[in-house]
Subunit: 322 residues, 2 copies
């Protein structure tokens, strides 16, 4: 067997957003129903270079392959005109241990699966008549989330507005989305953005909550994906406590370092208000109950989605060749 | 920066045994003097396919690169005419996190560094006038250990004898060594092999001790490298207890699952009799004291040696190209 090597441009060509939703949805379910074996993440620290390396790996029972993802972040790289993120994804046979594919994705697969995951969570929990989407943040993840949600909820003819700290960043995101035939409005006032949205997607690495409870109307759905490590929080704790339903991608992770972590640590998070998202998607836990509910999806990132997206990529490559 | 990809044949051409000893010696020292960061080994089990996957990774402080090694063992593969071992080694920059090299070594680097490590331990602990080397086992590791020791102790004009369970296996090993200009005698009697050796190298996955204490003369040095997981043992516990000096490649690993593990578990391993091999090599712990001492090197395998050999390979590649 020859090992397949795919680069980022290969993967960008191979992976169509609409082909990935089923696998990423199943990846949520696999975590909640216990099919997914995900050992603790491996970690190396390079303090003197302001860098780190994470090794995520796992297997979804019954899958013919398993996946190992190596991701580095060296945060002084941009000063040398290098990207701060690097990485590689290995796909191995769960039957023979052979290395089936080396995906030199430069972080693309993680960016895409995060966008897909946010779109799936959002569609599952928002009001069916949702129309106006407010994006908080203008980074790479904002773009992926807009593209994925626009694709998944195309029949809604969603209207996108974005808030960012700088006009330049909003304009850049707008231009990027234009290239994908998606129009977005720039909204320099975060309060107005929140007050006028049916759906809010927060995508920032904020360490001080940006989104205030008083800005959020009944019926709003929020998908918060910025809090991926301890110390980050995008939503006011009051808002987290006020929500009718919190859908956590992985309960232990979210209680430890998700949007709900502060409320949990303070002992004010009602246990009856949160469920695991995979259970909602599988129909084994309730989702939104009333059109006036405020719902929040708290996404900290799942290794099972890295597995899923790598498998979709390899499958697409093989189908293209056959 | 372009990622360098090297295959097993590339690596076999690049790596000369004599160029690797310094790096592997330093890898022993780095573990003992605390320079080496080696997180716990990552592990995935594929029980239904009789397979497993180990992920070893680490960094030696001050090194410009760090290393991640993925190794799979799927023990039913030979029935499908596939090798049971597969793997890949990644070399990444400790300054930028970029992936400098992908080494598709198919286990070659592990085999070689184990052979190098055994030779280094053996030379450090054997009597200076050692001549006769007895090899227990005829597998891949037996071959690497013979080649590495012959190279490292070339001025001794060593004489090699081998014992194996089958004549065929002994003949095959003999033929392989002949191709490297090394003559080995076949010795179908293990007791005679042991009684007539100054140095004994044990290289089997035995779960019941093969080598009896009564067969070992004073002055013998033994390097035991078969016990790499719990339950394996090549040397009688009496022999382990009787030895004047036990040099362990990593004390915690060896007490857990090395040759000394049973003696330790039984509470009969004298704490004053064992030292860490890296300290012996650095001169900070005593080695052999008397020509009549029985010395044993207990090798369970060090991640630092995976790092070292990968770095030597990448260095050799770059030097060849410059």
């Amino acid at each position: 067997m020859t090992t397949i090597t795919l680069t980022r441009p290969d993967l960008e060509k191979l992976l169509r957003i609409e082909d990935c939703f089923d696998a990423v949805t199943d990846a949520y379910k696999a975590v909640s129903d216990g099919r997914c074996v995900l050992p603790p993440v491996g970690y190396l620290d390079f303090a003197s270079a302001n860098g780190d390396c994470h090794i995520k790996y796992g297997h979804i029972q019954g899958d013919p392959t398993f996946v190992i993802k190596v991701a580095t972040g060296f945060y002084d790289n941009p000063a040398q005109n290098l990207p701060s993120s690097n990485g590689i994804v290995l796909v191995l046979s769960a039957h023979t241990g052979q290395i089936e594919a080396i995906l030199q994705d430069e972080g693309f697969l993680t960016d895409l699966r995060s966008g897909l995951g946010a779109a799936i969570a959002t569609k599952a929990l928002c009001r069916p008549n949702s129309k106006r989407v407010g994006i908080v943040g203008t980074g790479i993840q904002a773009g992926y989330q807009i593209r994925c949600l626009d694709n998944l909820m195309s029949e809604h003819a969603l209207e996108f507005s974005v808030w960012g700290r700088s006009n330049d960043n909003m304009q850049q995101l707008s231009a990027k989305m234009q290239a994908h035939d998606i129009q977005i409005q720039m909204q320099p006032n975060l309060q107005e953005l929140c007050e006028n949205s049916d759906i809010i997607l927060t995508t920032t690495p904020a360490k001080t909550p940006l989104v205030k409870s008083s800005w959020i109307k009944p019926g709003t759905h929020i998908t918060a994906s910025g809090a991926d490590t301890p110390g980050k929080q995008e939503l006011e704790t009051d808002l987290v406590v006020r929500a009718s339903l919190l859908a956590l991608d992985k309960i232990d992770q979210c209680l430890d370092h998700g949007e709900v972590a502060t409320a949990h640590a303070l002992g004010v998070l009602p246990a009856e208000n949160y469920v695991e998202l995979g259970h909602v998607l599988a129909g084994t836990a309730p989702g939104r109950q009333h059109s006036s509910d405020i719902t929040i999806a708290d996404l900290t990132g799942l290794g099972s989605q890295d597995i899923a997206i790598a498998q979709v990529a390899l499958g697409a490559y093989r189908q293209n060749r056959s």
